[in-house]
Amino acid sequence: MVSSYFKELLDKVNQGPLAYLFIVGHIMAGTFLVYTQPRSNLAFLVLITSFLSLYFFRADARFKLFIGALLALVIIPIIGVRNIFYLEVIFQISVFAALALGLNIVVGFAGLLDLGYVAFYAVGAYLWAFFGSQQFYVLHYAPGTQPSGLPFLLPGDAFYMFLLVGVIIAAMVGILLGMPVLRLKGDYLAIVTLGFGEVIRVLANNLDKPLNITNGPQGITPIQRPTMPEFAVDWFNTVFSPLIGHPVSRADMYNLMFYLFALMVIIVIVFVTRRLDDSKLGRAWTAVREDETAAIAQGIPLVRMKLTAFAVGASFAGVMGVLLAASRTFISPESFSFMQSIGVLSMVILGGSGSIPGVILGAATVTILNLQVLQGFSLYLNDLRQSDAVIPVINFAWKNLSTQLDPAKYQKLLFGLILILMMIFRPGGLIPAKRRKREVAPEDGK
């Protein structure tokens, strides 16, 4: 009853000028809130969800593009520099959105359950980490024993070239990894890809003898970044510092720069994904996903299609890996665990596998849950514990609440719960792909 009432209301708002007003109003409210309350998580959420309203409401395409560009290129950078935590959250959302889009192609489009997706991410990251740092000169030293003052192998500006190299190498690794295993059925494939993910992580952790390629568990640091011209910092400062309230440092500018890079990569990825979705390749993938036997009967080269999906998905992850290595200037095997693979998978599942906006929403939701909501809730509980407050009705002093009940500690529980609840109640995801809506409905037609 309630949901149908909402639907009617939304439909009414969604026509004509009311939609435009809503979008603009949402954005203005969000910006104002974040500007005046720079540390409020709720304000940040209001601003971020304006992207959602931009997506949902019907408006002229050029208007949406203009507003979107304004949001992403002007408002977010200013907000981000005022509170660098928000820029970090948005940067991580972009990185994970790209990863999720890549996994979306493998899981959502082609129906291959890949549980070791983070391996391609690691390949891209270590690629730039090796070539963009001093690691080449450390090859014969045990981890931790290298002298200081070694030269760098490549200049920082080789980063741009390596974005392309990362795509190619990751795609090749995807094909290499995919070739032996894509003949397997879905469940076997899942376990084998899980194995691959672990293999890559163990290799990253252990390739420090006899030749020190990855520097083992200590990771590789420092990694070069592309140079940023001085005039860019000055220009940004002169134009925007009155709005921001304080001068912008080089470090902040670097953060902004990488955010813009991530944005550009996402735009390219979305574009490529969209074109693929609507192409012969995309339809072939749908056929393979729905019924392999029928697809073969139609003359679709099964293994080639699956390999292409793998390669395309892997290349997205590879490019993001290169970006990550440069932005952090530090890489270690701890970033590439099984938890990360499952994290990206849960983003795809939560958002809606096969659906581009859904997957981006999933990435944003999981990242915000993980970084802000869970942590914020835990800090709030912690403040309560250190105060003298009491739960009103049952008179239970917050101080006595066991320190074990700390929400930030139970990230796995959250991921698990998301996966289970989504599968039971809404397997299509938050924004289901239009093709998938009928597929994941239960067979008994409830």
């Binding site: 295993v181 392999e292 998978l345 074990q404 698990g416 599968m423 067979e443």
Partner: protein, 391 residues
């Protein structure tokens, strides 16, 4: 009583023991041969020189003298993997579905058993217990672990898998991953709230830590002692008992026939009057019982458990089940034994064979690589039948 004895299908009791013997001896022989051959070859290379310098023995002598102990160790862990693998394979055989949460079922069994023993220890009962009572307490712990794990397995099936029975293949699989993660943190939460501790340590009691010495092998100047600890013997004996019982259940009872029928063709089985839902619950129960017992045995052998103890053994056991041919019980046995042996051989010999370049850090991915190789050339596993593509 006499009627029960007469109806006992002795063949089905002996057959699995025979199979286990065959697999153990076969895999031990095969791997020993490979390793000895490798040793002979490597002796003539830089590896041989390196070892001679460090330990003053040839690679061949080293390999041969360590072989019996490595085989015993490999078999012990192999049986544990086999016991866990059976849980995976039974569920897959009936539902064509990987129960990712089985690793946490294993962990819960371990925790319940260990908590019981810790409780008994704090009640002062374990310290002065006679040998007979020590074994009785261990048996009690195993039974309790089995029950808890079995109950949890049935509950998980009811809550998280049954609503998804009709959906596409990906959906219950993802739900299973979710359950696995959820249970890991729930175990952690419960342990944290009740005991405040992360690690739980199996108490020492009885004669489990003692060793049975078979003899000494000389290797160069030093002597290697060949023996097996009592707890390893306990692990092997209990595992074999469980495997025999399971085999009997599935192959020689009416209930087992029903399980096999559902595994073969679910719609037809239900047409034949079999209550499919009950059989599925029973399958999960049996798998859970096995996993729980394996958990307590694991805790006995390796002393320390924590909430994440299930992940790696579960993953390896699943690899073993796939290696042997998932859905096939004999395959799970074979896969478990082979995987255990592979892992132990790799861990013990890789460091020496590569002159230190690659050590036991790689033993896990060694096993994985073998799995991938087997699946490339024989996708249905070592003992699996080539099942046609499911639509």
């Amino acid at each position: 009583m006499k009627r029960f004895l007469r109806s006992l299908n002795v063949y089905e009791l002996i057959r699995p023991i025979g199979q286990l013997l065959k697999f153990s001896v076969g895999s031990a022989a095969a791997m020993s041969a490979i390793v000895v051959l490798l040793a002979l070859v490597l002796d003539r290379t830089a590896v041989g020189v390196h070892l001679m310098d460090k330990l003053h023995v040839t690679v061949f002598t080293y390999t041969l003298s360590n072989l019996p102990q490595v085989v015993i160790d490999g078999l012990t862990i192999g049986f544990v993997y086999a016991a866990i693998a059976l849980g995976y394979t039974m569920v897959y055989g009936v539902l064509q579905f990987i129960n990712f949460a089985h690793s946490e079922i294993f962990a819960v069994g371990a925790f319940v058993g260990v908590e019981l023993l810790i409780f008994l220890q704090s009640a002062g009962v374990l310290a002065g217990a006679s040998l007979f009572m020590a074994y009785a307490y261990l048996l009690l712990a195993i039974l309790l672990g089995m029950l808890a794990a079995g109950g949890l397995a049935v509950a998980v099936e009811r809550i998280a898998y049954r609503p998804l029975r009709g959906a596409s293949r990906l959906v219950p699989l993802i739900s299973a991953i979710g359950v696995s993660f959820l249970l890991q943190d729930v175990i952690r939460l419960v342990e944290g709230l009740t005991t405040g501790q992360f690690n739980r340590i199996m108490p020492t009691f009885g004669n489990f830590d003692e060793r049975v010495i078979f003899g000494k092998l000389s290797m160069g100047a030093s002597k290697l002692v060949l023996g097996i600890s009592i707890k390893s013997i306990v692990v092997i004996v209990v595992a074999v008992l469980m495997l025999v019982c399971l085999n009997y259940l599935v192959n020689a009872t009416r209930v087992g026939k029903a399980i096999r029928a559902v595994a073969q063709d679910m719609p037809t089985a239900s047409l034949m009057g079999i209550n499919v839902n009950r059989i599925i619950s029973l399958t999960f129960l049996v798998g859970g019982l096995l996993g729980g017992a394996a958990g307590v045995l694991y805790a006995l052998k390796f002393t320390r458990i924590d909430p994440f103890v299930g992940f790696f053994p579960g993953l390896k056991a699943f690899t073993a089940a796939v290696l042997g041919g998932i859905g096939n019980m004999t395959g799970a046995l074979l896969g478990g034994i082979i995987l255990g042996m592979l892992e132990t051989f790799a861990g013990s010999y890789m460091g020496i064979f590569t002159a230190g370049a690659a050590g036991s850090e790689y033993k896990d991915i060694f096993a994985f690589s073998i799995l991938i190789l087997v699946l490339i050339f024989r996708p249905q596993g070592l003992m699996g039948k080539n099942v046609g593509q499911k639509a």
